[in-house]
Symmetry: none
Subunit: 412 residues, 2 copies
């Protein structure tokens, strides 16, 4: 079974709002094993609405928007015309509208009463929190569901009316999704590393690469008749994948790396501080974006200038001169001193050249040294990222957090 989601209204087309309704609905349908064939946003013009429903290749079409009481809301009349319906007064809906509006202190007018006129050949879907009822049309074995665009009302009708009917009426096939989060390998290098694994994947499983700066998500989709078998197949493949790239996988669901690190710190009762140069506070900002971060995070010194590295992170001037600020010795000293000063179990130190200026032949833009330490162990690593300042800062921050994760897990 394949579904299409159609959003009616100009506010998405002109970029005023982001289409979150479709995201919500598609997740619900996917959970029921219904594939989404297409999602589209169209204008509220009659011809565009008819073009959209006529051209769909889906068996189930969920249309949101255009059911309000004002003159630019054309969905109901357009659908009634398309499905050759007659609009008849639904007394149940009228009573509900009157009760709802009176409760809000609104005087019921003709525009509101018009909303109680419903197509005679559509199933009516009750909207307990609004005045626009939902409608379910069926034609040539295709199902068309029209819902209001207000997210709160749409979700109520989906939960109370649509989803129970979908479960009851359609024998849905099983689809499973799993997302594996990786950090530390660019997409093409990751693809090379897992090439032979990818090639041996059983036919039921599809793989997609979803990159973001510093992160590549791997999405596995398994499709078949029996959900229990699919779970086994997909878990087996994930295990194999983990054996190939254990240090790069930080989660088996789509969550931010800082959340994984935060959970790990809390679980092990550890605290952390940071001494940042080129990342300028981003690691600290990521660590404190998680609720309850004061349990594991104490603070940071952002030492953008050499004099601060010297004065407050006790990096000797001769080391700064001889080795340069972007060097192993400097980050190791930063890491040691911040941990001792802020009395944390662990610390991260970063120094690098974010760019676009400051690069040299030996240390081009994108060169970053990261050190993670505890009182009995220090691990330092040199990275070479790219040329874009913003991406370098993000990649350095994510690499540092992944190093901290592996450090806590004793894997580096």
């Amino acid at each position: 079974m394949k579904a299409e989601l159609i959003t009616i209204g100009d506010e998405i087309l002109i970029g005023q709002i982001v289409d979150t309704n479709s995201t919500w609905i598609s997740r619900k349908l996917i959970d029921l094993g219904i594939d989404i064939w297409q999602i589209r946003s169209i204008s509220d013009k009659k011809e565009d609405i008819i073009n959209a429903i006529r051209s769909t290749k889906a068996d189930l079409v969920i249309i949101t928007g255009g059911l309000g009481p004002t003159s630019d809301d054309l969905t109901k009349h357009t659908l009634a015309e398309y499905f050759n319906s007659k609009l008849v007064l639904n007394n149940e809906v009228l009573a509900h509208i009157e009760q709802l509006l009176v409760g809000r202190g609104v005087v019921v007018n003709d525009m509101n009463r018009e909303q109680a006129l419903l197509p005679d050949n559509a199933e009516f879907l009750e909207n307990i929190s609004g005045t626009a009822a939902g409608m379910w049309f069926e034609k040539d074995n295709k199902h068309f569901i029209s819902l209001p665009g207000v997210p709160f009302e749409m979700k109520g009708i989906m939960r109370n009316e649509v989803i129970p009917r979908l479960i009851e009426r359609f024998n849905t096939s099983a689809i499973l999704y799993r997302t594996i989060m990786t950090q530390g390998l660019p997409e093409s290098m990751l693809a090379m590393k897992i090439k032979s694994w990818e090639e041996q994947l059983p036919n039921e499983i599809k793989l997609a690469y979803l990159p973001r700066p510093g992160i590549v998500r791997l999405r596995l989709t398994a499709e078949g008749d029996d959900k229990r078998i699919l779970v086994k197949i997909i878990e087996k493949e994930i295990k194999k994948l983990y054996q190939i790239i254990p240090q790069y996988i930080y989660a088996f669901e789509d969550i931010p790396l800082e959340k994984v690190v935060a959970d790990l710190l809390i679980e092990q009762g550890l605290t952390v501080s940071t001494a940042e140069s080129c990342t300028g506070g981003q690691i600290s900002s990521m660590l404190t974006s998680i609720s309850g971060s004061s349990a594991y995070y104490h603070g940071s010194i952002i030492s953008y200038s050499n004099s601060i590295k010297n004065k407050y992170l006790e990096v000797p001037l001769e080391v700064l001169i001889e080795e340069g600020a972007v060097s192993k010795k400097v980050v190791e000293q930063m890491s040691k001193v911040i941990r001792e000063k802020l009395t944390t179990n662990l610390s991260i130190a970063v120094s690098g050249i974010a760019g676009p200026d400051g690069g040299t032949k030996d240390k081009p833009v994108g060169t970053v040294w990261i050190s993670v330490s505890s009182d009995n162990k220090t691990v330092s690593k040199k990275f070479l990222f790219g040329e874009d300042r913003g991406r370098n800062i993000t990649r350095a921050s994510l690499s540092a957090l992944n190093m901290l994760r592996l450090f806590i897990l004793n894997k580096i």
Copy 2:
């Protein structure tokens, strides 16, 4: 001229990510006076891609996604087949890919090299920040543009390659857009404050409120026949607006507040440091996101715990106990000490309750004290933001930067 936006890839269809690319592109096209006919998300299957481009009723189709190096990226081959292209090696692109990957320390492999094969009958659109080039096909007076789905790369190609060509090739009518950036007033309060100005706007001018956390952009659109007259009309209205809300407007074009602050600091030869608590490094991170920030930014102490506020920012323990960490006295001391320790002309200090925990009756979640100081002046202000942690951090950071801006301009 009508456009359609097509997003290729399963991640939107299964509800894993929200389609923000389309929102961004549609705003850019609307700015150029190009109407959006439809936005759709489709799978990365060949038949669905072909169905989508064949069924479009738009004159301009912008397709994002599916241009990566891996086997699930089918867009290029599908388009080449549809437009009867031959794929030929583009040496310029190959050189760029090699340079980019070598710069990142990545070994160039066959998958990467394959990305330098481009359709012989498409215009090539340079992607300076990635390996997947954009393509511009033309057929029967319709234009098809294929771009990578990674937002950063897509935006770069749109800005550098697509928009200039669209302006050159299609822009006819006189439309002017101006964006006014405001900080410090929520949308509804701003709307109340400028209500009478809005009501007297001439017919040629349309106003739109575009809010983001902590920021409201006001977009003025003027449409008419004579561009020179429109410029005069719009400038006159902007002057009137500025007289109503001078302290809230920080720019007359869509640029980040941190850029405005950075320019001001550089212009006046001033330096700044921060002492942050609830913002956790975000202000520092924003200040250092701008290239060349070492000219004005020295460093920060992020004092998440009271002991760090006491030990390194010299806030007396009795003040922390009597007044609480979120108080005027504490932020003023933090501001003074960080400025002296890091020897900067100016400093920002912030302490607040980001939430969701830590609120009390007197100091609910969202309470934030901010202080900005120089060696002869200190300005402190208490804010009450909302309940959402992430938004509180963002709003506090933006409010602090706007206070710094007004402080430098001697307006507070």
